[in-house]
């Protein structure tokens, strides 16, 4: 037999303010309780539990609760939060430095040791010389190209003017395109 509907009705009857049983439901429940000892026993203890809780008094705090609250609130407010925050920050900085400094100093010392080797010094000097002469060669090449272009432009003024106009038009196109078309950030 399915006792669940009767169990639901028992709870509904105890929650009198929430769901009063319809007269026919009450009649069916009463009839079932008369026939089912188990449900009758359950109904009895449910009622007992209900009465026990209904009769329970309200527990009250010791006198002076509000005074204790005000003292606790004042104590909480006077706590020097800024000092604690600065201390925490300082300790964090000291901790980070303690981790990073030994590694950094050790690395620097190793670099100095290597740089003091005679063979390393010669290699560094040669490398610097090679880089400087390469840069000088590049600059010479650019100067030669610019002089050649200038001589050619003086010999062909129309071509030179057309090139300048094309260059100016391209620059202005870039300028206006940037103003008219908004930059889209795919991340937003």
């Amino acid at each position: 037999m399915n006792h669940k509907p009767y169990l639901d009705w028992m709870h509904a009857a105890l929650d009198a303010g929430e769901a009063r049983l319809a007269p026919d439901q009450r009649a069916q429940l009463d009839a079932h309780l008369a026939d089912c000892a188990e449900c009758q026993s359950l109904w009895d203890v449910l009622g007992e539990a209900d009465r026990l809780f209904e009769a329970a008094p309200m527990a009250a705090p010791r006198p002076g609760f509000t005074g204790r609250f005000k003292a606790r609130l004042a104590q909480q407010r006077s706590r020097p939060k800024a000092v604690w925050g600065a201390l925490a920050l300082g300790l964090g900085a000291v901790g980070a430095a303690a981790m990073v400094l030994p590694l950094g100093v050790g690395f620097l010392f190793s670099i100095v040791r290597v740089a003091q080797e005679p063979a390393m010094t010669d290699a560094l000097y040669s490398g610097f010389n090679a880089t400087a002469s390469f840069a000088g060669t590049m600059l010479d090449g650019l100067f030669i190209a610019a002089r050649a272009l200038g001589e050619w432009a003086l010999g062909n003024p129309l071509t030179w003017a057309a090139s300048l106009v094309a260059l100016a038009a391209t620059a202005m196109w870039f300028y206006f395109m940037r103003r008219l078309v908004p930059v889209r950030n795919p991340g937003v």
Partner: protein
Amino acid sequence: MSEQEWVRRARAGDEAAFTPLVETYNTAIYNLCYRMLGEAGEAEDAAQETFLRAYAQLHSYDPARSFKTWLFSIASHHCIDRLRKRRLTWLSIEDEQLPPHPALREQTPGPEEQSVRREQSEVIQAMLAKLAPEDRNVIVMRYWYDYSYEEISQTTGATVSAVKSRLHRARGYVAEMLKAAKAPRATGRPALAVEG
């Protein structure tokens, strides 16, 4: 001055305006904490913490909502958090039964009524301690404050059907405990978590 006015002033930064609210609700909040936590000292601490949190979070309080419900919500969640941090030990109702005493068998008042009431209170706390925190919370709201399902739902954040389910389950557990307290032996009882 009305409660809404005190709340409005407190929200505006008037610390003194919060005091009448503490005086109004300290017993109700303390009782909730005591019924949930089962110990007077811890209940005092939890109740104080509830009001401190309420004061700190006044800016988030919605005036359209009942201040009492909002306060109870803070207290309920705080007590449930405290209970969850406690160590749990599992006990079967068979292993530890409530001691039978006259309060459970005799309903007629006697000369030692105060003693009986004290024993009843101990029995109630013992039964509450065996319930899960959420079920305990619903029982306390229902029987000590006559909260409706809707009000309990607003306080706890659970749905109305969940509240109803918890209340019925908690009632059923309490009924089982009362049965076990009366009978010398009970077999096949479900295990319940109690705080150790």
